[in-house]
């Protein structure tokens, strides 16, 4: 029953994919120009018959994907790097910003969760800071840090800190009273209680916060790199837009989606690892 369901879903996915490809093909297919005069633009670009601008056909797209994926790590100067290198830059920024955020948010969330006083005292700050678009911090970051690469890491930090902080605090505050009482009657020390009782009890909630943070960080890095420039998948998208290569833009969009999915799956697996059934 379950198996046939996933098989049927898989078949349906393929059918939808083929249908969309067909639509795409129909929308972008243009009859071959036969000896027509070159447009002024085409003359300027020095190309004669090959279509360079505009929407690519699925076949052209496929070629581009193959070309990029067959050599993902080449580096031919600042404006021509392989897609693997660009993604690695973005992932490194997201990773370091996210890690810094975790280092701040999880211990702080623990404190807030354990102390109702701190919870109340810090709540207004969190409520005000949380809804600020992370990109709004960019000018301030550029001014104070004076380094564009570090600024983008800061932006990742500031956007991933909130979900982790809030979820950790919530998870820690809602650890079941019974478990804490067990720890109390066993005269368990503070650290042992934190690591052996509260942490595993709150882990699923904390992990959910981390998963949300990672999702947001991956959304934000593209925009941040568009602003900051230099390297990264966001810069790649912007650069290819300036090159008017929609094929490459679409390819980058695809890669952003695939990497985002991989990150989410990874955190999903981690989440499953720490989840317990009551």
């Amino acid at each position: 029953m379950d198996k046939s369901m996933s098989l049927r879903a898989g078949v349906l996915s393929v059918v939808i994919f083929l249908f969309l490809l067909g639509l795409w093909q129909a929308a972008t297919h243009t009859p071959e120009k036969t000896g027509g005069a070159l447009t002024e633009y085409e003359q300027l670009m020095g190309k004669s018959t090959k279509k360079t601008a505009g929407m690519p056909t699925p076949a052209q797209m496929g070629e581009t994907v193959k070309k990029h994926l067959s050599d993902p790590f080449y580096d031919k100067g600042p404006n021509d790097k392989g897609i693997g290198i660009q993604l690695a830059y973005s992932l490194a920024r997201v990773g370091s910003g996210f890690l810094l955020a975790a280092l701040v948010a999880i211990p702080l969330g623990f404190l807030i969760g354990m102390s109702p006083l701190l919870y109340r005292a810090l709540d207004p700050f969190i409520q005000v800071l949380k809804p600020i678009s992370p990109l709004a911090w960019m000018p301030l970051a550029l001014y104070t840090i004076k380094d564009s690469a570090t600024s983008s890491i800061f932006v990742i930090f500031i956007c991933s800190v909130w979900p982790m902080l809030i979820n950790t605090a919530y998870g820690v505050a809602s650890v079941r009273r019974d478990w804490l009482n067990v720890a109390r009657t066993l005269e368990v020390g503070v650290l042992r209680k934190a690591f052996r009782v509260i942490l595993p009890a709150a882990a699923p909630t904390i992990m959910t916060g981390m998963r949300i943070s990672m999702g947001i960080a991956w959304l934000v890095i593209v925009a941040a790199e568009m602003l900051v420039g230099g390297t990264g998948i966001g810069y790649f998208v912007w650069n290819e837009w300036n090159n008017l290569s929609l094929t490459n833009v679409i390819f980058a969009i695809l890669m952003i989606g695939v990497v985002g999915m991989a990150l989410d799956l990874m955190f999903g697996a981690l989440q499953k690892l720490v989840t317990y059934v009551e």
Partner: protein
């Protein structure tokens, strides 16, 4: 001075009333003693503060008045000397049955070697009949098995006193009966001192040496103490054939149904909260004065004086 193992002296729990309203007194003037090796049950309706009393004994809650002295020392907080079996088993769901017990054992003896701790845990899991299920997570265990792990965890730290908060309330009758019998065996083997809350009259008669009856809250007190005069080797099969079984049972049910309410409305004449009357249903018709308690079947004389 008292020589009792545990002495609860004038316990009270009051909650301040909201804005000018009078304070809410859940219970007051609660005095009782527990001897070493004694199994004491407390029965009363919901809201009379039984769980609060247990939590005060455990050190998890503080009374607004009175104090508890156990083994010559005042109870001022939770301690490894008092093991607690919680109402809702309170097992940590991310740990296996054995790891749950191990967590307690390691808290008690941090310096023991891994091998010693392993053996210790397995011995207590075996005691509650869980050999073979020690690596299962609580979610894979039935309600009865979970509660057994909770009991094993509390026994494994070898506390001076065991506190059980309605441990079998959520179990079906059959499972409950089996675990009760195991509890009797374990307690007999270890001479454990036990304080237990229950709603089940038969459970109290099966397990307890003495049964404290609480009147209804607010202003609940210990209305009287029923000494269980049935032989100590009673089992579930033979319980109802004991000559005084129905006398005790009727007395308890009668109290729960009508007298607990009447008592809280009007204290009976001559009632002394410090020495609640001790009754032995079936042996005498009148409540015995507290001083002359000595039942023929029991070697232990319950000392209510202090």
């Amino acid at each position: 001075m008292s020589t009792s193992f545990l002495l609860a002296d004038g316990l009270a729990k009051k909650y301040p009333g909201a804005r000018g309203k009078p304070d809410l007194t859940v219970f007051e003037d609660v005095h009782f003693t527990i001897e070493k090796g004694e199994f004491v049950c407390i029965i009363g309706h919901s809201g009379c503060g039984k769980t609060t009393i247990l939590n005060v004994l455990a050190g998890l809650d503080t009374a607004s008045g009175g104090n508890v002295v156990m083994d010559g020392r005042e109870v001022s907080g939770p301690s490894l000397e008092r093991g607690v079996v919680f109402q809702g088993h309170a097992l940590m769901p991310w740990l296996s049955a054995k790891k749950n017990v191990e967590f307690a054992v390691r808290s008690r003896w941090p310096d023991k070697s891994k091998k010693e701790i392993d053996e210790h845990c397995l011995r207590y899991l075996d005691l509650v009949g869980l050999t073979g299920s020690e690596h299962k997570k609580p979610s894979e265990l039935s309600g009865g098995m979970k509660q057994r792990v909770g009991i094993a965890r509390a026994f494994a730290i070898e506390p001076k006193m065991l506190l059980l908060d309605e441990p079998f309330g959520a179990l079906d009758a059959l499972t409950r009966g089996n675990i009760q019998e195991e509890l009797v065996k374990i307690c007999a083997a270890t001479h454990q001192t036990v304080f237990m809350i229950t709603h089940d009259v038969d459970e109290a008669i099966l397990l307890a040496d003495k049964i404290m009856l609480m009147s209804n809250g607010p202003h609940a007190r210990i209305a009287e103490i029923v000494a269980n005069t049935l032989p100590r080797d009673r089992t579930r099969e033979t319980l109802h054939k004991e000559p005084r079984y129905y006398a005790i049972r009727n007395h308890l049910v009668d109290f729960l149904v009508s007298r607990s309410k009447r008592f809280s409305e009007e204290l009976p004449e001559g009632y002394d909260a410090k020495h609640p009357p001790v009754v032995m249903p079936g042996l005498e018709t009148q409540p015995a004065p507290a001083l002359s308690l000595a039942s023929p079947e029991k070697a232990v004389v319950i000392n209510l004086r202090h």
